[in-house]
Amino acid sequence: MKLWTIAALTSVVLSLPATLQAHHTQVTFYFMDQVVEVTGVVKRWALVNPHPELVLEVTDASGETKELRVYALGVAGMMSRAGWTRDSLVPGETVTVLGSPSRASDSSMAGRSVTKASGTVLVMGGGGPPQGPSGQ
């Protein structure tokens, strides 16, 4: 069942650094030229080295739920410096993730940004503090 919708590039994505610090070989794992938007419920958020990991529970059109692993494009150190903490995302909250789909699996993606229900946008590519609504 199709979970992905292709989203137009937003001001949040455009505000990301032009060249993300590539710790791992992202282009091998993800379609970096594509941006998709997924909404789900946070199951787990781990600000870990090397790449922080968000696990979402997502529901498709048929009502079937599955887990989606979102690997941040940034690294833990840079994201911590940018203001991310272990409590930035809380289990049970609904968020929308912008990112790039995996080449080999529909259960993972690369995360570029997370928008909380409050409208706060958090950039997962590192650099800059957590931002306000719509990247402002």
């Binding site: 060249t19 590539a22 070989t25 690294v75 150190g77 410096r81 995996s102």
Partner: protein
């Protein structure tokens, strides 16, 4: 001079001779750093440039590998090096097993560094993978060629306003050229770094890479280091399970 006085005199002579001997062979902590030596202590950052990993250097999906810290296209690679890149399969990358990047990869990204100059050594803390490297400045030589280290063995000295660091005794490294370019280096790799002050807050870093098993000739490139008001921060321990999990969905180049 009576016998007691003679014994005292010989005792004093022996004592001072021992002190002189210990001073001569003691570690360089007793060696003072010259005021003319360049001041490289502090936090530094490179202005990272996105280098091509080589248009011919493809992953298992046929994509050009990206994110290299050296321009692979400019490296004088021999046939063995290109054959290695073609054979290489992503699961071979030790980074997925939390092995830190080695040299010269660490010299090419823009995570902060901290250099600490001491009289007998310089320690360099790279934020990337929280790596600390020791450069011995006490005049010692490299160990026997058969004694190998993942980060090599580094010795350094000053030539006027230039800090020179020579590193040898590397282990064979499947990603030794660049950890995104996936080209190996051998135990014959030699890295020479020359840091020259171009201003109070800037250094020119010239790096020469030699490896006769994978390069047809030595290759030199230059980067600019600028002082940074941001120093390295620890990334915390690498989560091995999480790191390996990212590989699970990636098909191998070779049938299992």
């Amino acid at each position: 001079m009576n016998s007691v006085s003679q014994q005292t005199t010989w005792t004093k002579i022996t004592y001072f001779a021992l002190v002189a001997l210990v001073t001569a062979i003691a570690p360089g902590s007793l060696v003072a750093q010259s005021v003319d030596d360049p001041d490289v202590s502090g936090n530094w950052r490179i202005e990272r440039q996105p280098y091509s990993c080589g248009e011919w250097n493809l992953d298992q999906f046929g994509n050009v590998r990206a994110g290299c810290a050296i321009s692979i296209d400019e490296l004088p690679l021999n046939k063995r090096a290109r054959a290695w890149a073609e054979f290489y399969d992503e699961p071979m990358a030790a980074m997925w097993d939390c092995v830190p990047a080695s040299l010269p990869s660490l010299l090419g990204d823009s995570f902060p560094w901290n250099l600490s100059q001491k009289s007998d050594r310089i320690t360099i803390w790279y934020e990337h993978d929280d790596t600390v490297r020791t450069v011995w400045m006490d005049g010692r030589r490299h160990p026997f060629v058969g004694e190998l280290f993942y980060m090599g063995h580094s010795i350094g000295w000053y030539e006027g306003e230039t800090l020179v660091i020579e590193t040898t005794n590397f282990t064979f490294d499947p990603d030794g050229m660049d950890d995104h370019g996936h080209i190996a280096t051998s135990v014959r790799k030699r890295l020479t770094e020359r840091y020259t002050q171009t201003g109070p807050d800037s250094l020119e870093m010239a790096i020469t890479l030699e490896d006769p098993l994978f390069l047809t000739e030595p290759y030199t490139w230059v980067r600019q280091l600028n002082r940074s008001d941001v120093g390295p921060e620890s990334w915390g321990e690498c989560d091995l399970d999480q790191s390996r999990r990212q590989l699970e969905s990636l098909p191998s180049k070779y049938d299992e």
